[in-house]
């Protein structure tokens, strides 16, 4: 039979009469939680932005025909040398076509898979951009533009013009921003391109593409799949790459392995392509958590100290409470209640301050050539961090309050009253 009204009443009186200590302890929690929220929102915001920068440009699974030497050299088929140790010099890659066999049926198959969000065909061609007598080497990728826009952040990277303009123009091109600058071309101009075999085609610039990665923007342009097929003089089933977006990115590797076996093509999962990238973001997350936990522990020690002092000051009160019939548990609850009130108040204030600071950071201008679509610092408002914040505030104040309150529980009233 614990009488919460009485216990909370005493806790409240203690907190209100020791306003200075209460405020100090509460502010400790507030700053701990506030900086945790700010830091985590900002850091994860940046992380997500950096991840997206690379990941959105990378398909979850990339299917293509890899140029490599044949694994089974003809000598292996020759019966007489079966048990011999064969040395072959100067192996050349196997002569095969760049296009994917049966690309269109494969696309149809992929689109029907339940875990596939979308699959798009691409045709990548090596070409030259002609500017007067200059020839600039580069890539021209033929895409199903509306599907690409649906599945990736391509639209964000089109800084001038629009994907719709490309869709509506058979001879349109989305020119890389680096190329446009080099050749002094802008929206609406014409650019001449030349294939490796020497055929020259004029294309109209319907958009400027800027990925933010200079090496890409200096060589890469996009046009419709059909346009590239026509330029190269190939049939409509000529596709060199298939990009797949999955509904669940974690299935990428297993599905890639399966596709490789099923279709005898090279299929690369996103983890294989960006292994070092994941390591980077994991380490950044680790740093964020290390700093946040340090802040929260410091706040926890502040509460521990203040409660310890409070209990030391209140020794006589504790003795009286026990003498007049309050049990050790009652006394412990009185001090635990104080700790939890401080934790709750500090936690909520910390969340508010963290939210306010995040808002301010969110407004701060952040303009960089590399990221055309971003104008302010990215901030992540994921409520999960706010829930973690308040839980940590409560847990740390609970722990910080538990030890001193345990001591209060065990205080022997006779010793205090008799002064021994």
């Amino acid at each position: 039979m614990i009488n919460w009204n009485v216990i909370l009443g005493i806790a409240k009186t203690h907190l209100l009469t020791k306003m200075k200590s209460t405020v100090t302890a509460t502010l400790g929690v507030t700053f701990g939680i506030g900086s945790y929220i700010t830091l985590v929102s900002f850091m994860t915001g940046l992380n997500t932005m950096l991840d997206d920068l690379v990941l959105n440009q990378t398909p979850h699974i990339h299917i293509y025909n890899e140029i490599r030497p044949s694994a089974n050299q003809p000598v292996a088929l020759y019966e007489d040398f079966k048990n011999a140790f064969n040395v072959i010099r100067s192996i050349k890659p196997k002569l095969s076509q760049k296009k994917i066999h049966n690309a269109l049926p494969m696309l149809n198959y992929l689109k029907k898979q339940p875990n596939v969000h979308g699959a798009t065909p691409q045709l990548r061609a090596q070409i030259f951009y002609l500017s007067g007598s200059m020839e600039l080497g580069g890539n021209l990728t033929g895409v199903d533009i509306m599907e690409e826009v649906r599945l990736s952040n391509l639209r964000d990277n089109i800084v001038e013009g629009s994907p719709e303009a490309l869709k509506n123009n058979e001879n349109g091109i989305l020119l890389g921003s680096g190329l446009a600058e080099k050749m002094s071309l802008s929206l609406g101009d014409r650019v001449q391109i030349s294939t490796v075999s020497g055929n020259i085609f004029p294309l109209k610039i319907v958009g400027i593409y800027q990925s933010g990665i200079a090496d890409v923007d200096n060589v890469q342009s996009f046009t419709n799949l059909k346009t590239v097929q026509r330029i190269l003089g190939e049939a409509e089933n000529y596709v060199t790459d298939i990009n797949i977006k999955l509904t669940d990115i974690t299935e990428a590797q297993s599905m890639a392995d399966q596709l490789e076996k099923q279709f005898n093509v090279k299929a690369m999962g996103i983890n294989e392509a960006n292994a070092q990238f994941e390591t980077g973001s994991n380490i950044r997350n680790l740093i964020t958590y290390a700093v946040s936990i340090t802040l929260l522990i410091v706040a926890g020690f502040g509460i521990y100290n203040i409660l310890n002092m409070l209990i030391y000051e209140k020794m006589k009160d504790i003795a009286i409470l026990k003498a007049t019939g309050f049990s050790g548990t009652d006394v412990q609850l009185i001090f635990m209640a104080q700790a939890m009130i401080i934790g709750m108040a500090g936690g909520i204030m910390g969340l508010s301050i963290g939210f306010a600071l995040s808002k301010i950071i969110d407004q701060a201008p952040f303009e960089t050539e590399a990221l055309p679509t971003i104008t302010t610092y990215p901030v992540n408002y994921d409520p999960v961090y706010y829930i973690i914040g308040i839980i940590f505030a409560l847990v740390s104040t609970f722990v910080a309050g538990y030890l001193p309150s345990k001591r209060a529980k065990k205080i022997d009233p006779v010793k205090i009253i008799r002064g021994t």
């Binding site: 003795a319 309050f326 009253i417």
Partner: protein, 225 residues
């Protein structure tokens, strides 16, 4: 007449700083409505005995009965309930919670007991204060009143749950003669009007002489009963 508080063969040892036999075979009882004083020199063990009787000290051998119930060996939780309901305690140094108002100090044990409604408790507390002529102080902070007033507030607090017995550890030890007289009269009145049992440890001979019965202690034994 029946004893409301009784001890049988209570022995107590201090272990620090060295082994010391403080109480030796204490067996006695307090009757209902009796005003008893325990006297003795410093170190005779009278306060130690009182704290055992108050159930706060549990480190002893022998048995303690309150209202014919064996108290010895009960858990701390049960003991604090017994203290709350059956024992009122008045200390030498008033010992009020200085941050609370006088009224709140008096009300706390009753709130802990939780047998009455808050409004009833408040009315009761106010009534106890009036009875001790300090009703006008009810809403003062406990730290703002004089020593004699504090002791009367402490008595009011001890009485709030209508205890079986009121214990005092030198309740007048820290007061001037006027206030001592005052406290004695209050005790006397409580005994006569309400039949309350009182057990008071004191040094004050004048105080002790006017009680019903004096228990003299020396070297951990009761010498006159």
């Amino acid at each position: 007449m029946e004893f409301i508080l009784e001890t049988k063969d209570v022995n107590k040892y201090f272990h620090k700083p060295k082994e010391f036999h403080v109480l030796k075979d204490i067996s006695f009882g307090v009757k209902k409505g009796e005003f008893t004083a325990i006297m003795g020199k410093s170190g005779s063990g009278k306060s130690t005995l009182l704290y055992i009787l108050s159930t706060m000290d549990t480190d002893y051998k022998g048995q303690l009965y309150l209202n014919h119930q064996l108290v010895t060996g009960k858990s701390q939780r049960e003991l604090s309930q017994i203290r709350n309901k059956h024992i009122g305690f008045v200390f030498q140094f008033h010992y009020l919670l200085s941050e609370f108002s006088v009224l709140e100090n008096v009300m706390l044990p009753a709130k802990k007991l939780g047998e009455r409604s808050p409004a009833e408790i408040e009315r009761n507390a106010q009534q106890k204060l009036e009875m001790l002529h300090i009703g006008h102080l009810a809403h003062q902070r406990a730290s703002r009143i004089s020593g004699g007033e504090k002791q009367r507030v402490a008595i009011a607090r001890a009485l709030i749950n209508d205890p079986t017995i009121l214990m005092g550890d030198e309740p007048t030890g820290n007061l001037d003669s006027h206030n001592s007289e005052n406290v004695f009269n209050i005790f006397k009145k409580l005994k006569e009007e309400q039949g309350l049992s009182l057990l008071v440890v004191t040094h004050d001979e004048d105080f002790a002489k006017r009680t019903d019965r004096i228990i003299q202690m020396e070297d951990g034994r009761i010498i006159t009963y």
